[in-house]
Symmetry: C2
Subunit: 276 residues, 2 copies
DNA sequence: CGGATGCTTCCGCTCAACGGAAGACGATCG
DNA sequence: CGATCGTCTTCCGTTGAGCGGAAGCATCCG
């Protein structure tokens, strides 16, 4: 870097991004030293860069001096297509599903080898589960995950199965052969199902959201208490919601800015300009 | 910058952030040239930096080469307290409100002179309105905004009123004196109300979420068709939801990572490390 | 085919970025 | 109360990462 020591070859941008990447669900608040350690950067460097990020409000500071992800970064992130298009379109349908069941409703996309949770609705009556928006869970142990995996390309499924398959409960399908069979069943049935495979006490059904070749894979699912035996009954409702989402997605494929957005009123804050 | 021309005094980090800041609701997809123009950077510089951001997946590219906000940035943004704490806590209560009314439910915080929408629930039966998660609307013309403004410090209200007050419909309260009177009423009543002040055809009620001194100001509101005359009837429900949210917020004030998060399973993708 | 527009690569110059070191601060301990 | 430790902040001389104009491509259009 433009400097006189340290390991060369890392760009400033890379370092700044490493700082952002130092935060995760388990570590949403970090002291300067923790930040430096986790991003693997010298303290002085971390201090300077974090200061710039803070000035732009990509980071915020707590009263106790800890760093957190800032409002401005949150705002920017919401412009990602998963949120500004997919979530926006799917939400009303998910609400319908919620009204019908009052259970956890999940919307996930495939990203790498994970199911990435894009939206989750849950009320006070829903089973508490670990999924959260923006987190990743494995594809072989979750409903939405299985729906995504079962409908992926053959080579992808193969690659997935060749990796270690973590086991979470005694019901998790962690054996290659069984998983492959399960996935074939899933495709035939047209929907995925889990029974206490991620968490004891909860089970789920999920369906793929039909998508064109090349478009990101999406799925929609419901998680309920394992005592409910009539899960498959929910499948038709689920499927019609998924189909409706797919339809809206193709209909609005090339809207520049989604929805009915006339010009927004003049804003005031949060436009602090570049740091420097 | 470490370079040989251009306007000095701008840091690399500042430029990278300027690129992120070039995206907004009206411009969620940008070509390289647009990006360069909007961020006010030379094309070559934009190209290089955008490339690094893309490598980290802070940006993505469309099939047609346009840049968009990337998944990784979206994930990072979700770690901001507004999302990972406030939204997480408020959502079930908002669901209850939605079940009871099937109307638009809004959660907003005060940021600068704007009401920043943190969460919005709406189903197919709700009035379509322009609010979206992550967008800002003025405080004098929206329900949640008035609830925030009315309960702000005296000096802040003063400062707000001295700025121009944009008018959106013929019902918008755009006169200083009337606005101040309206805000006093709001405080006395204990809830804010709007009647077609932002959009013709819709009106709203909102209440502040009680918060400690120094904590960010939050409010909760409902937007309905203007034909519904019984809006104030909703206030008690709304208020008890707001109180419940406030209580949960103080109860969980210093949880490190929210909720019941045992260690997450091993992730695979989306951890591409720094760009270089 | 000429001209306009937009994307990508090249490359030598230079100053922004670097980070060790030292100072300030605060908490804990004997 | 002085010593020790951990954390945060500032300073400053050195240098290679970043710079961006310019040239090269790729499309599109009349």
């Amino acid at each position: 870097m433009a400097g006189n020591s340290g390991k060369p070859g890392q760009s400033v941008t890379g370092k700044a991004l490493a700082l952002l990447g130092a935060f995760d669900v388990m570590h949403p608040r970090l002291t300067l030293s923790e930040l430096a350690r986790r991003a693997d950067l010298p303290l002085a460097t971390t201090h300077r860069l974090a200061g710039e990020l803070e000035a732009w409000r990509a980071l915020d500071r707590d009263d106790d001096g800890r760093y957190r992800i800032g409002l401005r970064l949150w705002e920017a992130g919401l412009l990602a297509p998963v949120s500004s298009r997919l979530r926006e379109i799917a939400l009303p349908f998910m609400q319908d599903l919620y009204e019908a069941t009052r259970e956890n409703i999940h919307l996930a996309v495939r990203d790498g080898f994970d199911a990435l949770y894009v939206e989750k609705l849950s009320g006070h009556r829903s089973v508490p589960i670990i999924s959260r928006i923006g987190t990743r869970l494995p594809m072989h142990s979750t409903g939405v995950g299985k729906a995504l995996l079962a409908n992926a390309e053959r080579a992808f499924i193969q690659a997935y199965c060749e990796r270690p398959l973590p086991r979470f409960t005694r019901y998790t399908i962690a054996e290659r052969g069984r998983l492959l069979r399960e996935l074939r069943n899933t495709v035939e049935r047209g929907y995925a199902q889990t029974n206490e495979e991620m968490t004891l006490g909860s089970c789920s059904v999920a369906v793929p959201v039909p998508s064109e070749q090349g478009a990101p894979a999406i799925s929609l699912g419901i998680v309920v208490h394992s005592v409910r035996a009539d899960l498959p009954k929910l499948v038709p409702t689920l499927r019609s919601a998924a189909d409706a989402v797919a339809l809206r997605l193709t209909e609005t494929a090339d809207d520049p800015a989604p929805g009915f957005l006339h010009d927004l009123p003049p804003l005031s804050a949060g436009n602090g300009g570049g740091a420097g």
